[in-house]
Symmetry: C2
Subunit: 608 residues, 2 copies
């Protein structure tokens, strides 16, 4: 049943050799990897206006120079990441670049904050998209959390199905969103050029504003640069591209940069020209759309695609998280299970871990994850800074042909990212402080995991000095609960092993019971020695363990091995298991972890 | 840690021989087994008045004849159960009596409805007690469910500690409640006798009332008889009494009957004389107390002990459920685990099952379990009817000395119980219909469980005709994941078993990997045959299972046994387990249930 459901939801398993077919073309990659970045134009410009609004509407013209600043930062980031793509064609996430050039700990800081960030991406984007939907249909408002969780589950299933299949579905909404915004910007600019929009709506650029300060401008800039989250997704995912992967990835990155720049500046410009004021109930994009088209079909088309792309932005997390997790897991900093490809060749453990974590976040914050946005932005700019710095170090170290311009590009990127990061700490400390706790905690955890793996490797390695001592003989202990065919079966097996001694052990809760059993046993199996143990506390495991300890002690002197042969009957149907006390399983689980004893299970399958 | 907590909460384990010390004296038994019955005087009289109130306050005098009816029913039940106690000194619950005299299915109907009923008892009583507390402290109202759950957990811990210890704690509130009500009734009657209460407050007995009907009177009677739930608890719990158990139980039952009759008639009388009208916010007992004492210390003493005893009424469920479950489990109608005594000699599985079920009910009904009361009452009167009928059949069959008066007593009890049951179906069908669904479902389930146990017994029995075929030799399969000390350890064990063939199996996901491994293996273990399997779908279990099937097929021809020797390394700390893929455990779990193969686990304990 469960298997059939799984098959239905995620499709038939794929062969390892089908991996190539799952690779992404440029068009699909653009859709799948840039929904996060592109969707942020839906809220980035608004973030700038909200900060400026504290000084009044007259300050809105500052959004133009701030947008220019964001565009410069975007250009620096795109150029920087372009260089990373060619320098690290195997996937140059912030983790890899920082680790290789700056050392393990900077790498772990970058990797750790990105891991957390992708979880935040999913929670924040899905919540925002759900908000957009429940704003349109207020009746759904009380089901917000459930709707958000359903979206996460939907994305999880898509991603478990595999990369290209999800890309096909995801491509449409992303391109529709881009189309919708281009139409909006085009029609808006046309209205302005034909003079049908009054130019009294906004204060001219350069108008002096009372109370303006560098701090405030930097805060607005930092807020606006939250529109750049998601830019790194492509450089992480190079192995997912069709070959030549780096070239295709670089082209996709450039394309994304251009789209992002156009949409961002278009929205900022229209907002400025229309003199739009940020409101809590209606988004800036929605206001622009209403002024441009009125509340007609086009308006709802723009709102609808915006809601869709916000939800799909979460998909960037689903693409990037598992790949980053693989990198960390290969270096033994997180559990090995993240390196395993599932039935459909995706890294299903990473996908599931991300899904569960983000659902937990959505539930914990009751679907209101907006105030996680600054935390999320800072979690992006820390790795930005580290990876760009890493590239700077790389250029200085390696000095390849034409390294100076490259160095300048990355140095610019690193500096601006660092400034943005510091801005966040300076202007929004009350929202970003958790980073200062969870990053150190994660680093410690990463190192403890790595230490464990190293210790295990050490202990499992075969050394030529230490020879394994051969086992000279066998003592077999068979715990028995009655005179049944299950026991008979196990004894039959034990006898066939030509052991030196077979001991059946019976644990009784009452003295008389033991006597009766001993007599029965003598008649049934006169050649197998029976030991009865009395249990005052009605525990089978305690007296059995004590007995095993004694036998093991004796056996070890003779270099004999002790094997516990456990008779186990297995019911035919799953639900029957709760009808039986599962003593065999308990004994095995207890002894396996606590004693160094070989345990053999002799199954007896019931036929009805 | 968990063990220490368990020890702290429920105390040190007790020896089986300490069982006698856990038996109940009469005073403790009265407290522990009658809190349910006694607590019902807190709501029984009110139930009568609520029904009569539909005709107006003039009809309240009917509460006196109705109360007489309830007292007659009570007398009949007490006398009937007294006879049951002597006839079934081993514990004569409705289940045992019905099964022995009427047949298996009537027994199961009685037992099944009582099992469900005890769960309802706990949920309803604890919710009612919590209501009493939150009425006094409205600030706690929004924590109602949490408080109720905490009370259930508290009772669970008490009961896991053992019978007598919980009795010591529970005895005080029960006796305080009885004392409080006696003071209330005494002072009330004194006021009336001294003439300080106007006798204008009530209509005289016999006043004609418009619209009175037999149906309404029967409905009021049925409602009032819900005060008799809990009467059967003592006859279920005879084995818990100090010897001579039946005699002590009978005395306790009589004592309880007298107390219940006195309190019930006292409350009904005062309510009538004071002309009290049922209100939704204030209980009848509370109104009587206020009229008698005003809002002073005594008033709060009565309210406090009432709240306490309502919560403790749940304890009757905790005492009776596990004992009934043992009876059903011994007859194989419910899982065997209910017969196991825990560390403190209580039937801990029954206690835990009851606790979890009632917590689920409390959560499901959000702490508002009042409308479960009729369901609960009907679940009591069905087994009442069946057990009394059973006794009638018994007397007719056995005809002991002086059987005729005994038969008359039980026949009266059976008839009245049947009438009350029918009244519930007639007058409150909308609330009691679920009984008609869950009883048949439970009966079917009981029979399926019993059939399974019988089938298992059949299959495990040793028959002399069928001889076990001796195993002529052994093939050992060792799945290997690398060249490590864990594998070396397992091979060492396999070699010591003098098997006819040892086959190491390596599952590779890539063709090249297999070749490299084969070469390494040849150098390391030239004398052990290695088979490499290629897995297209990255599953280890599938190809391994196929291989085992082939080997088993070949081996069975030669009467050889096939043993799978699984190397397993065990990390030192629990949390390390999530860092390893647990392939060994998965292989074992899969094959154990699906194939008839002997599985040996060779542990390799890590030291750090």
């Amino acid at each position: 049943m469960i298997f059939a459901l799984k098959r239905f939801l995620i499709g038939r398993p794929l062969k390892s050799t089908e991996l190539g077919e799952q690779k992404l073309s440029k068009t699909k990659a653009l859709a799948i990897l840039s929904s996060d970045a592109l969707s942020s134009v839906a809220y980035g410009p608004e973030q700038i206006l909200i900060v400026l609004f504290t000084l009044g509407a007259a300050a809105f013209w500052y959004s133009i120079p701030i947008a220019v600043g964001v565009l410069i930062l975007l250009t620096a980031l795109i150029l920087s990441y372009r260089q990373i793509i060619f320098a690290y064609p195997q996937g140059g996430g912030a983790y890899v670049v920082s680790k290789n050039n700056l050392g393990v700990n900077p790498g772990l800081i970058a990797g750790g904050s990105l891991l957390v960030d992708y979880i935040l991406t999913v929670a924040v984007s899905v919540s925002a998209g759900t908000d957009a939907i429940t704003s349109a249909f207020p009746a759904l408002h009380s089901y917000k959390v459930v709707i958000a969780i359903l979206f996460v589950i939907f994305l999880t299933i898509l991603n478990l199905r595999g990369v290209t299949e999800s890309a096909s579905i995801l491509a449409y909404p992303v391109y529709l969103f881009v189309l919708a915004l281009f139409i909006l910007i085009g029609v808006g600019v046309f209205h302005i050029l034909t003079g049908s929009v009054s130019n009294e709506l906004h204060t001219p650029i350069g108008t002096p504003v009372a109370g303006i300060s560098l701090f405030l401008l930097l805060k607005a800039f930092a807020s606006g640069s939250s529109a750049l989250t998601g830019v790194e997704a492509i450089s992480n995912a190079i192995p997912n591209f069709k070959s030549p992967a780096p070239k295709n990835a670089a082209k996709t990155l450039l394309m994304m940069g251009v789209l992002l720049a156009l949409l961002f500046s278009g929205i900022v410009f229209l907002a400025y020209y229309y003199g739009i004021t940020p409101k809590t109930e209606v988004t800036v994009v929605s206001q622009i759309a209403e002024k441009t088209f009125g509340r007609n079909m086009m308006y709802f088309f723009i709102q609808g695609t915006t809601a869709l792309i916000l939800i799909l932005a979460a998909n960037t997390g689903f693409t990037a998280f598992p790949l980053l997790a693989v990198n960390l897991a290969k270096d033994k900093f997180i559990p090995r299970m993240f390196t395993i490809r599932g039935d459909r060749l995706g890294y299903s453990n990473g996908i599931l871990f991300l899904a569960i974590s983000s659902i937990v976040l959505i539930i914990a914050f009751n679907g209101q994850t907006e105030h996680l946005i600054p935390l999320y932005a800072v979690g992006v700019f820390i790795p930005f800074t580290l990876s760009q710095t890493g590239m700077v170090v790389k250029w200085i170290r390696e000095k390849p042909n034409g390294w100076l311009p490259k160095l300048i590009i990355n140095a610019t990127g690193a500096t601006i990212s660092l400034i943005v990061t510091l801005m966040f700490f300076l202007t929004k400390f009350s929202q970003v402080w958790p980073v200062l706790i969870f990053i150190p905690v994660m680093i410690v955890l990463f190192h403890r995991i790595k230490n464990h793996y190293d210790a295990v490797g050490e202990q499992l390695r075969i050394s030529k000095d230490e020879k394994v001592e051969p086992i000279e003989g066998h003592v077999i202990i068979v715990p028995v609960a009655g005179i049944t065919r299950v026991v008979e079966n196990s004894l039959n097996y034990a006898k066939s092993l030509s052991a030196n001694q077979i001991i059946a052990v019976y644990v009784s809760f009452e003295r008389e019971d033991a006597k009766i059993f001993e007599e029965k046993w003598k008649k049934w199996q006169p050649d197998v020695r029976l030991v009865t143990l009395h249990s005052q506390y009605r525990s089978i495991i305690q007296p059995l363990t004590k007995f095993i300890d004694i036998i093991q002690h004796k056996a070890s002197e003779a270099k004999f091995g002790v094997t516990l042969v456990i008779p186990q009957f297995l019911p035919k149907k799953g639900w029957h298991n709760i009808l039986h006390n599962q003593t065999s399983l308990l004994i095995r689980a207890y002894l396996l972890f606590r004693r160094d004893i070989i345990i053999t299970t002799v199954p007896f399958h019931l036929k009805k």
